[in-house]
């Protein structure tokens, strides 16, 4: 097989990474943007989403689609409620102080991770995808008689992988509509712009914070439910999404949702392509290098607004 099909394959894999990453990072970005809280435990909310998806699939049994559909609803709700509880019992008591919340979420990270290890165990456990039909992809060839479609061996994807991309895009669109078109989105953006004035205009900021923290964690959990049929659930799986989410949020501009999505596609695609042709480690090295460059030359991120 020539180079072209490999690139197509790598791009497809990259798109899956990108779409799941975009969902996870938008959750992190929302929490940072509105609450100014750097949530180190975000990756663990992602991991919990995957673990809960496995548990739900095990308990329900039957056709994989039943468990999957249930997990897609139950996991974000459970993880979101846990996050709201963490917000009300921990972050609120720290007055959302930027430094102390970092330390607190590091603690939360280890608590969630170790509790999962003690209950779920150290094994990686697979979840059946709800549907998984193979689709062969065509490639073109310049033959003697001009263009010709061929079906190279090994070039293909599955319906589930395409579904992940579509579902993530739909969820991102839903988040955007929530922020721009709904009452709660308006209150969130007003709180993000000026917390004190939000209070002075009757916005219950603490309730908004709890909700935002819950939604942020719920988005991470949903991303994990989408990826777990491809990747398996494991108690340490939160580290990579956390690192990549931070990379994406910094490159895209802290608090900017469109910037986060663009950066997620950039990082996801390059991660996919570089991992296929070189090594996953090199992909991470380059992404981290890019963060360094962005921080030096454009500290507000690609889409961020420099504060006046």
């Amino acid at each position: 097989m020539e180079l072209g099909p490999y690139i197509l394959l790598a791009t497809l894999e990259g798109m899956i990474t990108a779409s799941v990453l975009a969902l996870t990072a938008v959750g992190l970005s929302l929490v940072f943007g509105v609450m100014r809280v750097v949530n180190i435990a975000h990756g663990e909310f992602f991991m919990l989403g995957a673990v809960i998806a496995w548990c739900v699939a095990q308990m329900l049994g039957g056709h994989p689609a039943v468990g999957f559909a249930a997990a897609l609803v139950i996991a974000p709700l459970l993880v979101g409620s846990l996050a709201i509880a963490a917000d009300m019992t921990i972050l609120k008591r720290l007055d959302y102080d930027p430094e102390r919340t970092i330390v607190a979420t590091i603690g939360l990270l280890y608590i969630i991770q170790q509790l999962t290890l003690m209950s779920f165990g150290p094994e990686a456990r697979p979840v059946q995808p709800p549907f998984n039909t193979r689709i062969a992809l065509p490639w073109f060839e310049m033959g003697a008689d001009g263009f010709k479609l061929i079906w190279p061996w090994g070039l293909g994807t599955t319906t589930y992988k395409l579904f992940v991309i579509v579902a993530a895009a739909a969820l991102l669109l839903a988040v955007r509509l929530m922020m721009t078109r709904t009452k709660i989105g308006l209150l969130m953006r007003a709180t993000q712009a000026d917390r004190e004035m939000a209070l002075a205009f009757g916005i219950p900021v603490e309730r908004i914070y709890a909700l935002v923290f819950g939604i942020g964690a719920g988005l991470a959990a949903m991303a994990a439910v989408l990826i777990v049929p491809i990747q398996q659930a494991h108690y340490l799986m939160g580290a990579d999404p956390l690192l990549l989410s931070f990379i994406v949020v910094i490159i895209g501009g802290l608090g900017s949702l469109p910037g986060t999505v663009v950066a997620a596609i950039l990082i996801g695609l390059s991660d996919g392509i570089i991992s296929v042709f070189f090594s996953p480690t090199l992909a991470k090295i380059l992404a981290t290098l890019l963060v360094g460059l962005v921080l030096v030359f454009r500290p507000q991120g690609l889409f961020g607004i420099r504060s006046v």
Partner: protein
Amino acid sequence: MLELRGVNAGYDQAQVLRDLSLEVRAGEILCLLGRNGAGKTTTMKTIMGLLPLMSGEITLDGQVISNMPAYEIPRAGIGYVPQGRRLFTGLSVAQNLEVGLRARNSGADTLEEVLDLFPRLRERLQQPAQTLSGGEQQMLATARALCLRPKVLLLDEPTEGLQPSMIEAIRQVILKMRADGIAVLLIEQRLDAVLPVADRVAFIENGRNGETLSAETLRGDPSIAASYMGV
């Protein structure tokens, strides 16, 4: 209408207000005058519940508001126009006003009335708030507070840095609010900006009450102000 009784308040360990008492009546403009750092802005933030009260009591229409959570205080009927305008950046003019409308569930008729007071905002409804000129931003900050249909209006240096025509426009709105029976608490730096509109002037010095005089008296003898205002 709005009454502060023996209020002590400040930032963390630094107490700013000491036993401060004030009363703003319905349909009057009370102006708070004092040097920089005397505690004028702190007084407003304390009324809004944005700073913790160490002791004392604040009532609105006889109802104690100083023990309410901060977000309930505007809902009780206090509109706040803060220093430096502090609009919600990133939100359009219309959305800034909507936040004001939602605070007390005011309807579309309130929005129409407010826009009639500030016709320039009507032309810019879809524009992001931060792209307005300084004067328009001040109009928006005032309009946002009026969207609450407040019983009490707090204005912190509403004419700071504005051109004379804008100052006049804002002043006319303040006078109209007084005529509608709203209690207005106004902070200004300069005495000459205050005297034409104020009914009473309360001086504040190092967070404590100074004299409270009628504007008549001050107009007759502006030298009284000198000791509170410095050079």
